[in-house]
Every structure is written in C-alpha cells, then in structure tokens.
Amino acid sequence: MSAARPVEQVLWWLAAIPATMVIIVGFGLPLVQSLVASFTRDGVLTLANYELVYRLYRQDVVYTVMVAAAGLVLTFGIGIPLSGYLRLRHSQTAEFLLKVPLFVPFVVVGHAMRIFLAPRGTLPSLLHALGLVSPDTTLAISEGWIGLPIALAWKHLALVVLLLMGAFRGVGEEYLEAARGFGAGTFRQIWAVLVPMAAPSIGLAAVLSLTSMLASFSIPLMMTKGSGPQMLMIDLYHRYGLHGDFGTASAIGVVSYLLAAGAAYYYLKGVMRQ
C-alpha cells in the first residue's frame, strides 16, 4: 500500500471533521461538564456531591451492579445455548421470534412486565387459576430483584442472540464436523467449539448488554416502587428532576461511567491480549 498523497490526506482530515465535532460537542463536552459539575457546588470546588452519593446511594450502586449482573447471567445463560442450538439446527421461526424484543421499546417492556408480574397481575393470576398459589399470596416478583433482571434479560436477549448467531456462523463447519466425528453432542459442540471460537464476540455482546443494563431507566422506572434500593439512573433522574441538584446528579453519572468503563476495560484488555 502506498502512502496517501498530501492533498488526499488533507481531504481525509476534512472529511473526518464533522464526525469528530459530533463526538466532541455531543459527547466530550457534556462529559467534561458533568465531571466539573460533580465536583462543584454553588460554584465552589467540593466533594460534597460524592459525599451525598455515598450517604444516600451507596446501596444503589451495589444494587445496580447486582441487577445488571443478574440480567447478564440470565441473558447469556439462555442466549448462548439458544444461539448454539440454532446454529446447529437451523429454525427460521425461532430466529424470527427471538428478534421480536429488538423492536419493542424499553418503556413498553417495562409496562408489559409490570402488568405481567404485578402482585395480582397476569402471571400470579395464571398460577392461581392453575391452583399453584392461593389468591392471597402476593408474588412480589414485579418489584426489583427478580422482576428487573427478567425484564432486562427479555429485552436484551434479542440483541445478544443476533450477535452470537453471527459469531457462531463464522465458525467453520469443519470444526463442528470434526467434533461430531469424535462423538460430541449438541451441548459439547456449543461448549467446546462454538463458545471458545466466538469468545471475542461473546465478550463484546456482554459489554454492550452490561452497559445498557447499567444505564437502564425506563424499565426500572415502570417496574419498581418508591421504596428500597433503586437503579442509579432513577436516582440520577430523581436528583435532577425533583431536587434540581445537578451536582449530585452529575456525581451519580460519573459513578455510572466508571462502572461502564470497568466493563469496557476488561473487554479491551482481553482484545489486546489476543
């Protein structure tokens, strides 16, 4: 490959300006602004915002990480075997059904899950009709811990399957044939061949889902109640919308960046090693 001529190089730089400006103005500037705001209160440099985050929301940081982690485990626990199975035994209908959640907005998922899982919602009513629970049992799965990861997993499964299917299809048929030749069953082919060979894509899908779950807002807003631990994005909204406290809201934002950056760091480290 020959080096680009100077004129061409200038043109390339010019062409890159709009995109770079979008990143600087739309992402970099607000990032710096929120960083500065998180260390400022009434125009004075301070750690007060972080103190308040620690005092009021430290449980919520843990809660957010746990919910996202549970959602991730659930998504991949279902997504990997499912994508592997579909790679080995093609089914157009199943693939189509799996893609449906991609087109359902987050807020609709939140509302649907709230109705579905509410103490007297569709699922508990169904269980009652089947005689599995008594009508007075309140199954509080819509609230937090269990309901949220279920809803998040349902929404993210489609994207994960889409990414994994692509990666699994990239694995050459000869490897699978060889595995089958040694008597590997479906599970073994997925676990010993597809997963290791598609590891980078699985890592990418995991980072994408985890950051999206950490940042989820509308599903927790629709599904959770006004008490107990809460997802950080709700705290952020609450701090800003109700209290008009931009400083603390920014500090919560910075904590969220760090959580997301942590996930991305591990992924990048893995990629570099390869």
Binding site: A118, R120, K225, G226, P229
Partner: protein, 382 residues
C-alpha cells in the same frame, strides 16, 4: 437536483417566515404546560380554541413538557438559560408550572407581575396565591386549578375511614400493607403525604410554612421521619399516583394517598371502581395548585395575560375546569360553584366537602424545610 434545491429554498423561506408572514398583527402564543397530557389537551382543544374565536389573529402553540416536578423544571431551566444569556423576547409566553417552580421563578425574578391588569384579578384569592414555599408570589400567578391530596378508601373493605392521621396510624397497624402511598420518588402525592405526616408528628405547621428556617428544628423533623419509617413497615409503597389508584382498583390495597383530581377523572372515564371515596384527614394534607405564569421577558406578555384572564373567567372555570375535568376551581370557589351543575358538584365533593377543604387543606412548607424533609426521608426511610 436543481428542482430539489428550489423546493428546499422555498421550504426554508416558509419556515422562517412562519404564520407571521400572513400579516403583521398575527401572533402565536407559546404555551408550555408542565402537566399531564389531559391538561395540554385542555389548552390546545378548549381554551386556546375559545380564545382564538374572539381574537382571530392569535394562534396557539401548546407544548407539554411532561409530568411531575421534572416537567416544571424543564420550563424553569429554559427560562433561566434565556435570562442568563441576556436574551430579550423569551420564547415562552404562558407557562403552567408547579407550586415549587413558580416560587423558585418568582424568587429568581424570572416572572412578569401581571395579575393586577386582569378583569378577574379580584377572584384570584387564597393563601396559595400570596405565598408559596416561603416566597412572595402575589401578582405572579393565577392557579389554573387546585389539586388536593386525600386519602382514598374502598368502602367494601373499610367501613369507618380514618378522620385523622392518628386514626390512620392505628388502622395501618391493624391492617398491614393495606394502606399505600408512593413514597417521595413517585410524585407529589407521596411527597404531600410525607409533608402532612411531618406536620402531624411535629405539630409545627405554622412554623414550617411561615418560617424563618431554623436549623434547630432539624432534629424534630428527623425524629418524625424516623416514625414514618416505622409506619412504612406496614405500608405498601406504590409506584406513582397511578400505581396507588391501580392497586386500589385491584383490591391489593384498601386505602391510599392520591390526588383527588386523578381519582375523579378515572372514575369519570370508567377506569376506576366508582365506590372508591376520598376523605381529608386532620390535621390536613397539602393542596398543590398548578399556576399559570407569564415569563418576565415573554414576547407576547399582553396577549398572555389576556389568555390567562380567560382561564380565570368563572364561567370557563365552572364549565371546563370543574365540570369537564373534575378539578377544584383555581379562582374563588364562591364565584365558580354557583355556576356548576349539581351532578358535577356531587362528584367533586363526594367524600371531601367544601368545609373539609377549608379546614384541612394545607400548604407545602418553606423550600428549605421541604428540601430537608425530602433529604431526611431519603436517608432514613429509603
């Protein structure tokens, strides 16, 4: 290609001229509504249309900014930014905002004092048109309607509803998790209940509403909030006002703190068990009006004031605000209620009488106390 460019040029030219291109005197009133879609619809489809009939040169652009305090905050942030930028002719002419942000905007000199010029100015009465959150708001606001927080109960399960906070406490102990409210994150009805609780436990309503703020009282507030934490152990915390109404409707809870207007509206729409009845309990629960305001540098301040005058017209208040939407009147009820049909009166005052309103309607505390109570709640109750 050339034709495409021509079309674009024409489109840009039309967009830049806008409706004013048709005549110099034509104006478009920019109305920003920090409330639910139904309130946006009232301005768009009823009040705006009615006004334009008499003033054909005035058109309306009604925008809803959402619900809850965040919606009012969005309007505040926009006006503040225009003020800070030193801009003239701000782009909002009429803003409907919550009590809290109306007070904040009055304090920060973002509002135009306009009510003295109104035909119906004498009907703008009540303590909440004079002070809000400890700020002097007289002249800056006209309540579009008043909204009362009340305890709604299902008579099927509750034969003798409580009349005081103390009775409610006893009832909740005897009926665990059958009372619900939305905490402080789910909207102002839960916040109002919390404020009412602090008034009840501390017995210091006047102090908190009139001020001045004194840090010495923070201990008293914290201890009342600690008692609220105990109370909450037997309570169902719902997700928002609609969540409380839903839970009441499904029979999951038997009693809950709700907005009266939403209860009446849901009953009108057939979405709510008609048996559910509101009751106001002593020492009282906050009333929370939504105020019509005119920003200080609004481009069309005079038209804005005339439009608000229409909303303050007792006939409009009776027919649109009370009869059609089931809200309590924003202006002097003595001027409005004689014009309201008996049916609408019965619906509005079922459970909560006009006397109850006079006795038990409370104001929100000063901004500093309000913020401190919310902080204490977040820290102690969660």
């Amino acid at each position: 290609m050339r034709r495409l460019v021509a079309v674009l040029v024409v489109l840009v030219a039309v967009a830049a001229t806008g409706p004013t291109g048709y005549g110099q005197s034509r104006v478009t009133l920019q109305v920003a509504i920090a409330a639910d879609v139904n309130v946006v619809e009232v301005h768009r489809n009823f009040l705006g249309v009615a006004f334009s009939k008499n003033h054909p040169t005035v058109g309306f652009n009604v925008v809803g900014t959402g619900t809850g305090e965040a919606a009012s905050r969005a309007i505040y942030a926009k006006l503040k930014a225009q003020a800070d930028a030193g801009r003239r002719n701000w782009d909002i002419d009429v803003a409907l905002v919550s009590m809290r942000y109306a007070a904040q905007m009055a304090r920060e000199n973002l509002l135009h004092r306009f009510t003295s010029d109104l035909q119906f100015a004498p009907y703008v009465v009540g303590p909440d048109t004079v002070r809000a959150f400890g700020v002097d708001i007289k002249g800056y606001v006209v309540p579009m309607f008043r909204n009362q927080i009340a305890i709604a109960y299902n008579p099927h399960f509750v034969s003798k509803p409580p009349r005081t906070f103390a009775e409610l406490e006893t009832w909740v102990r005897a009926n665990p998790r059958r009372f619900g409210y939305n905490g402080i994150r789910g909207g102002v009805s839960g916040i109002g209940f919390t404020m009412g609780w602090v008034f009840y436990k501390t017995g210091q309503y006047d102090l908190f509403v009139q001020g001045p703020y004194d840090k010495a009282h923070e201990g008293m507030i914290r201890s009342s909030v600690e008692q609220l934490r105990e109370f909450n152990r037997n309570v169902t915390v719902t997700s928002g006002n609609a969540g409380t109404l839903d839970a009441l409707n499904r029979g999951e809870i038997w009693m809950g703190a709700v907005w009266v207007d939403q209860l009446v509206a849901w009953k009108n729409e057939g979405r709510m068990n008609p048996e559910i009845t509101p009751v106001l309990i002593g020492p009282g629960l906050p009333i929370y009006p939504l105020y019509l305001t005119v920003p200080r540098e609004a481009a069309n301040r005079d038209w804005a004031a005339r439009y608000i005058d229409l909303v303050a017209n007792p006939h409009i208040q009776a027919k649109v605000i009370v009869e059609q939407f089931g809200w309590y009147p924003g202006i002097d009820p003595n001027r409005v209620m004689p014009l309201v049909s008996d049916k609408a009166k019965a619906l509005l005052f079922r459970g909560v009488t006009a006397e109850d309103l006079a006795r038990y309607s409370r104001q929100m505390p000063l901004a500093e106390y309000y913020d401190f109570i919310l902080l204490a709640y977040e820290e102690i109750v969660r």
